[in-house]
């Protein structure tokens, strides 16, 4: 499992199943060897190696980025079984224009925030391929993004970890891998940012703080940000009252 998204409204959480090309939804309190309440899987789904998933609980949709297929599949939240996507946001053929590795939905501002990474495993000095592309939530086909964030100031050395969004403030939290030890950080950008924009805030980089920052979630109630680090096998909780 490479991602998880909790839907507070319906008290469910959803995970991608990479090996069996499936999206699984469990009841919120699931425990032990409990079956999912819904499974999206089959030829109509077009799922291939799903690694990330985002649920929009207000508009009842599930978004699945498919990095290798240069597309984002959108399913009804309550889809179950062999169900076709209701729309597909797809980049141009033979282009890394989309290549989405992670995404988040801002249901208040009706935006889709998409991380697009360079070639997998290529940690070069170039930031050219690493971008955040912001689309309208309902965009489909080869749509033009409303905004593109990226460049030296943005510091997107390596993207791809699951991100989080906080709609009341119109900000998103992005785990960013750095070029070497002690260079990873979590950055916060506005959903309205565009161009080579630095993050509004960062957690890190700092010596000994992160080794391989990867996932982010937020709890507005406690004004906290949760961050996972794959190398440290750890989950860290940061107080972040400035943002909430």
């Amino acid at each position: 499992m490479h991602d998880i998204d909790y839907d507070e409204i319906h008290d469910e959480f959803t995970v991608p199943q990479f090996m069996a090309q499936a999206i699984l939804t469990f009841r919120g309190g699931a425990n032990g060897e409990e079956p999912p309440i819904r499974v999206i899987q089959g030829p109509l789904t077009q799922l291939r190696q799903p690694a990330r998933v985002t649920v929009d609980p207000l508009h009842n949709e599930i978004f699945v980025p498919q990095e290798s297929d240069n597309e984002i599949l959108v399913f009804p939240r309550e889809a179950n079984g062999n169900v076709a996507p209701i729309r597909i946001l797809k980049g141009p053929p033979d282009s890394r224009g989309l290549g989405p590795s992670a995404l988040a939905v801002d249901p208040v501002h009706n935006l889709l925030i998409v991380a697009t990474n360079g070639p997998r495993g290529e940690r070069t000095e170039s930031f050219a391929d690493n971008r955040i592309r912001i689309y309208n939530r309902t965009d489909h086909g080869n749509a033009k993004p409303r905004g593109i964030i990226g460049g030296p100031k943005s510091g997107f050395y390596e993207l791809g970890g699951p991100m989080a969004v906080h709609p009341p403030k119109g900000v998103f939290f992005l785990p960013v891998g750095g070029p070497g030890p002690d260079t990873d950080f979590v950055g916060v950008w506005s959903v309205h940012d565009n161009g080579d924009v630095p993050p509004r805030w960062t957690i890190g980089p700092a010596p000994g703080l992160f080794r391989s920052v990867h996932g982010v979630a937020v709890d507005p109630k406690s004004k906290s940000v949760f961050v996972t680090d794959k190398d440290l096998n750890a989950v860290m909780t940061f107080s972040f009252p400035e943002i909430f």
């Binding site: 409204i9 979630a217 507005p220 750890a234 400035e242």
Partner: protein, 465 residues
């Protein structure tokens, strides 16, 4: 009365929803754009009352069954969740604006409030060399290779047993170590990296600390299981994502290519992990989780395949039995599969060629299953080691010490490697236990956490692994 009650509840619910929705707008002025702030400036994107009222639509007719509260009041619930941001709204909005205008990031340098992590090694793969008593265990938490003596036994009140030797660090090319093998002659240690790296490093018996491997092989995929045929000097590895068994020369290094591949739909390899060899009978056993998808290969299966979209499926866990020489898209000789087998996410395996038995670390079944090497179909295991006395919890690997007639098990679920008589059956207490942490310390079961979620209803952090 029931109908009247429903009407009253429905009317009340609508009122609550409307009040909550309008209340959210009124008490959260900060989500509206601040002129000139450059922040939240898209006025047509802000929340509107109409959108909130639309969320009420799922309400059932008054004479029908009542809806669940949660979906119908979805926006109100989110509004309540976000309500905590209101008090700091104006102050933090100014900070945001300042940060944006100055084109400089504000770095939050404070340490984390809390850190959830396991400070102890989590044992994963295991190998035993009986002549020297050398016991190698991989640690998937701290990314180390640990050597113990086969007679080590952690006293009940001791915190842990110190390993004799530790290999680990960025120079080692070893990270999520899923498989380990000891060369019985040279005592070299082979390590299979799963998921995050594609190196297969080999360390000398004297290697220690953060050292470069004596040699390494770049494998065409992330290794899940590994076995060696010493007679033919061949190295077998399973590649779970690509549903393949790759066979290399045992001495392969660098970019050496496999000498043969077992791959394709006919093989019925479906999430292959463990691998074990029976050279006496010329058999190859592969454990399969059952997480399946179809792959597209090139004509002679010489390149890594690509997944075919929409072919994913959940098949029963299985053990496929192949000829040791099998290659290409070749069907298995037979398959052990079905509810009687009790297979449930089977992991690494070992074969006792003399007794003709196959040992399976049955991870999610919290057991070690023992089959006859001649078994086929939906068969019951000949023996099952399982239960509270056994201490077996999420076993990830087994190893056989045929000289001393012992079975080793690594338990990913409880910081232990446990050893049993080779003929153990049922809920048998281990002869000895090597612990990597205090007996009463909870194992967090966090491994390679690529994401995190937050369950705001239960105030719980969700960690997929």
């Amino acid at each position: 009365m029931i109908r009247a009650s429903r009407i009253a509840r429905t009317t009340g619910l609508l009122a609550v929803l409307v009040v909550a929705a309008l209340g959210f707008i009124l008490v959260n002025p900060g989500i509206r754009p601040r002129p000139g702030s450059g922040f939240a400036e898209s006025s047509e994107r802000r929340p509107k009352a109409s959108r909130q009222l639309v969320s009420i639509q799922p309400m059932m007719p008054m004479g029908g069954e009542m809806c669940e509260w949660a979906p119908a009041s979805g926006f109100a619930r989110l509004a309540a969740s976000w309500h905590g941001v209101r008090t700091a709204q104006s102050v933090s909005a100014r900070i945001v604006s300042a940060a944006a205008d100055s084109d400089v990031s504000v770095e939050i340098s404070r340490p984390p409030l809390r850190v959830i992590s396991d400070r102890n090694p989590l044992f994963s793969a295991i190998a035993i060399e009986p002549e020297s008593g050398m016991l190698m265990v991989t640690d998937q938490n701290l990314f180390q290779l640990l050597e113990f003596n086969r007679l080590d036994n952690t006293p009940p009140h001791a915190r842990m047993t110190e390993p004799k030797r530790v290999i680990g660090g960025p120079l080692t090319k070893a990270e999520m170590m899923c498989a380990v093998y000891i060369d019985p002659r040279t005592k070299e240690v082979y390590v299979g990296n799963g998921d995050t790296q594609r190196w297969l490093p080999v360390f000398s018996k004297d290697a220690r600390g953060n050292v470069q491997p004596d040699r390494f092989l770049k494998v065409e995929g992330a290794v899940a299981g590994m076995a060696v045929d010493e007679q033919r000097q061949e190295l077998f590895v399973t590649i779970e994502a690509d549903k393949m068994v790759l066979v290399y020369k045992k001495t392969a290094s660098g970019n050496d290519r496999p000498i043969r591949r077992l791959a394709g739909e006919a093989t019925q390899l479906e999430g292959p992990r463990g691998i074990a060899l029976d050279t006496k009978r010329n058999l190859l056993f592969v454990s399969n989780t059952g997480n399946a998808h179809s792959l597209k290969y090139d004509a002679d299966i010489t390149k890594s395949p690509v997944q075919i979209p929409g072919t994913g499926r959940f098949e029963p866990a299985s053990i496929t039995v192949h000829s040791l020489d099998a290659q290409g898209n070749t069907a298995p000789l037979r398959i052990i599969e079905g509810p009687n087998t009790q297979l449930n996410v089977p992991a690494l395996m070992a074969v006792d060629e003399e007794r003709g038995e196959l040992y399976v670390a049955n991870n999610t079944g919290h057991s070690v299953l023992v089959f006859k090497v001649t078994d086929s179909g939906d068969v019951k295991p000949a023996r099952i080691i399982k239960g509270p006395k056994s201490g077996i919890k999420h076993p990830s690997a087994v190893a056989l010490d045929l000289k001393n007639r012992e079975l080793w098990v690594t338990n990913f679920g409880n910081h232990t490697a446990t050893v049993y008589p080779l003929t153990a059956n049922g809920d048998v207490a281990p002869r000895r236990t090597i612990r990597s942490g205090p007996a009463d310390e909870v194992n967090l079961l966090i491994g390679n956490p690529g994401a995190v979620g937050y369950d705001s209803r239960r105030e719980e952090i969700l960690v997929p692994n």
